[in-house]
Structures are given as C-alpha cells and as structure tokens.
C-alpha cells in the first residue's frame, strides 16, 4: 500500500480588487508525487477558482514555476518528499519580480520579450548544448541533430535574482545567459543590448540564479563568460581590428 502523507497546502491567493491572502487546503498526498499534482487536485476537487499555470508536467515547457516554502521550484518535477514532511505545511507562492495575474499565475510578458530581444535560441545543434560530459560517441556530423535548448524560460532565475528585485528594467539572468549562448561572435550587435546599465554590469555575482535553475543552464557562469566576451570585444574595437570579437 503506497505511503500516504497528510499535508496542508498554504496557497497564495490574489484576485483583482481583493487583498492578497493565503488559503489552507488539507490534502492527503503520496510523498512520491509531484507538488504540481497536489496543486492540480486542489483545483480539481477543492477550489475551481485557483489560477495557476501548467502545461507539460515534465519540465519542458517552463509554465509551472512557483516558490515552494520560499524557494523557486519547477513544481512539475519537485517531489513532495523532497520539500516537506508528513503533517507539515507547504507554502505555495507565485514567482517574485513578475506581475501576478491571479493567485499563482504570473505574467511572463516582459521576460519573454527580453528573451526575444536578445534572440534567445529556442533550438540549437545538439553538439552546441554545453553538457558536462558529452557522449564519447559524438561524431562531427552529429551537429546536424537539432534539439530544444536547455532554457525553459520558466523564470525561476528572475524570481531568485536580488538585482531583478530592484527593477523590471534589468535584463535578468536568463536573457543574459541566452545572449551568452548566442554569443557576441555570432551577433556582435548584441553588445549594444547587453552592455548597458540594465544589462551585464548590474549583476552582483550572487549566483542565486545558478542555484535555482532546474534545467542545466547555469546562468551565473554564462553571465560571467559574457562579461569576458564583452570586454574582449570592446577592447578589440578600441585597439585591435574593429568588429572581430574575441571568443
């Protein structure tokens, strides 16, 4: 008989024109389930007015990012056992630094537009996706395989970033990481977008983004590498042959 836990889901609620508050839902859950399953059951059986974003349920779409007990998580791949224990309360809040549409659903508009502005690659050759230990069997012609990028545009890094908390103008970890993935060698004109007050030089190396990224992007490292690329390109523009960016 599968083990059952009784937990309380304390869910943030906000409707236009009403004061935000928390609702508690006592739930019987299977600890091996995912947090999103429990949230969906709240909607299905307890409260149809619960608004939340979800689509793929297996970390490819990036819709279900929320803060679970204050920590940014993709709720579709977060196992209940890993974030709470039997009889405890699980606090579910929307992501920070995004306008709340209602309850747990946030408006990703500005964030997606910034990703579009830097020309984030939605698909890329398999061999270009930075993987710790690429399979030894990769041959050059494997570059013809195309795959969806690692970044799910889930917004967890934007929610965790202390600088993104100060202004909506800040480009943010994911767009900067995407700009690094595109690279200044491939599109030097990106420099004008990222080399600005609200771009590359606002990052304060807190590495909160890398800590919460559920999808192997490691935005912290990419931002730092982008700084090297940017300084390299600017110095070559100043001293070396104009327009030949450093790797």
């Amino acid at each position: 008989m599968t083990e059952k836990w009784n937990i309380t889901l304390r869910i943030y609620r906000q409707k236009t024109g009403e004061l935000p508050h928390f609702d508690d839902f006592a739930m019987e859950v299977d600890p091996n389930e995912y947090v999103l399953d429990a949230i969906e059951r709240v909607w299905a059986f307890h409260d149809r007015s619960l608004c939340f974003r979800h689509a793929c349920h297996h970390s490819t779409c990036g819709a279900c990012g929320m803060r679970i007990n204050g920590v940014e998580k993709l709720t579709c791949i977060t196992v209940i056992r890993d974030v709470t224990h039997n009889g405890a309360t699980l606090k579910v809040e929307p992501l920070r630094n995004f306008p709340v549409v209602s309850d747990l659903a946030v408006d990703m508009g500005v964030f997606y537009r910034k990703m579009e502005m830097v020309g984030a690659r939605a698909v890329l050759p398999v061999t270009e996706a930075e993987i710790e230990h690429p399979p030894a069997t990769w041959q050059p012609e494997d570059a013809r395989y195309i795959r969806l990028s690692d970044c799910l545009e889930c917004g967890l890094c934007i929610s965790a970033c202390p600088v993104a908390a100060t202004t909506i103008e800040y480009l943010g970890p994911a767009p900067l990481a995407a700009a690094q993935d595109v690279g200044l060698r491939r599109s030097p004109e990106l420099l004008t977008i990222i080399d600005s007050e609200d771009g590359l030089w606002r990052c304060h190396s807190a590495f909160e983004c890398t800590a919460v990224c559920p999808s192997f992007v490691d935005p912290g490292r990419r931002i730092m590498n982008l700084r090297k690329q940017a300084i390299g390109l600017k110095l070559t523009k100043l001293f070396g042959k104009p327009g030949v960016p450093q790797p």
Binding site: L95, N97, P162, T167, S205, A206, F207, E208, A211, M224
Partner: protein, 127 residues
C-alpha cells in the same frame, strides 16, 4: 505582497534569509562598502586637522586612543579585508575563473577577514 520589482524594497537587499552564500557575499560587500565609504570621507576630514597645525592634531591623537575609536578602526580593518577579498572573488569569477568554487572563495574571504580582525584586534587592544 506586491510581487513587482521595486526600488523601494532596498531593505530587502539585506535580508539574508533563505538565500545562497552568494547573496550573503553581496550583502556583506554592500554593507562594508557603505561603511568604508563613510570612513573614507571621515578619514579625509579628520586628517584636515594636520593642516591646522600640531595643536589640533595632538587633540585628534588623544581622541584616537579612546577604545571606541579603536573599535571603529578594527571594524574598518575587518571591512577592508572582507570587501577586498570578496572583490577579488567577484573579479575572478567575472572572468570565468573559479566560478565553480565561488562559494568556497566567499567562505575563505570571511574566514580571512575574521582572522585579520583577531590579529589586528590583539595589536590594537593587546598593546
């Protein structure tokens, strides 16, 4: 709970709860930066006494011997060591060096800052 980013919540910068070491590094750096900048201008103004001749400077020296000022100076020393070392951490990581060990670099900065504080504390107060 307004979820929007806003510059009003700058006190939130200094809230270390539920954050990664990287954020603590950022918070400590910012606090020490503000402290050191304040001290910098205080230091410049105070040294102006030198220009007013020996009498004014001797008065300042007497003041400088008092324990509170010494404690202040110890705090400055701690802030300088930490801020400096964490600055090195940020510069290194900004050029892709040691990014994987950024947390250890931060802990090392704090440890060295504490060690320095103890060392100079003994020098200042041990006599």
């Amino acid at each position: 709970m307004n979820n929007q980013p806003s510059s009003k919540k700058f006190l939130a910068w200094f809230n270390p709860l539920g954050r990664q070491p990287g954020s603590w590094a950022f918070i400590l750096s910012r606090i020490t930066a503000l402290g050191l900048t304040f001290y910098l201008f205080l230091h410049l103004v105070v040294l102006g006494r030198l220009a007013q001749g020996p009498q004014a400077y001797q008065e300042f020296l007497a003041l400088a011997e008092s324990p509170i000022v010494k404690l202040g100076e110890l705090a400055v020393i701690a802030a300088v060591i930490y801020h400096g070392l964490n600055g090195i951490r940020i510069i290194l990581t900004s050029f892709g060096i040691g990014v994987a060990h950024q947390q250890r670099l931060f802990y090392a900065s704090v440890a060295l800052a504490l060690a320095g504080t103890v060392f100079f504390g003994i020098r200042l107060f041990g006599g």
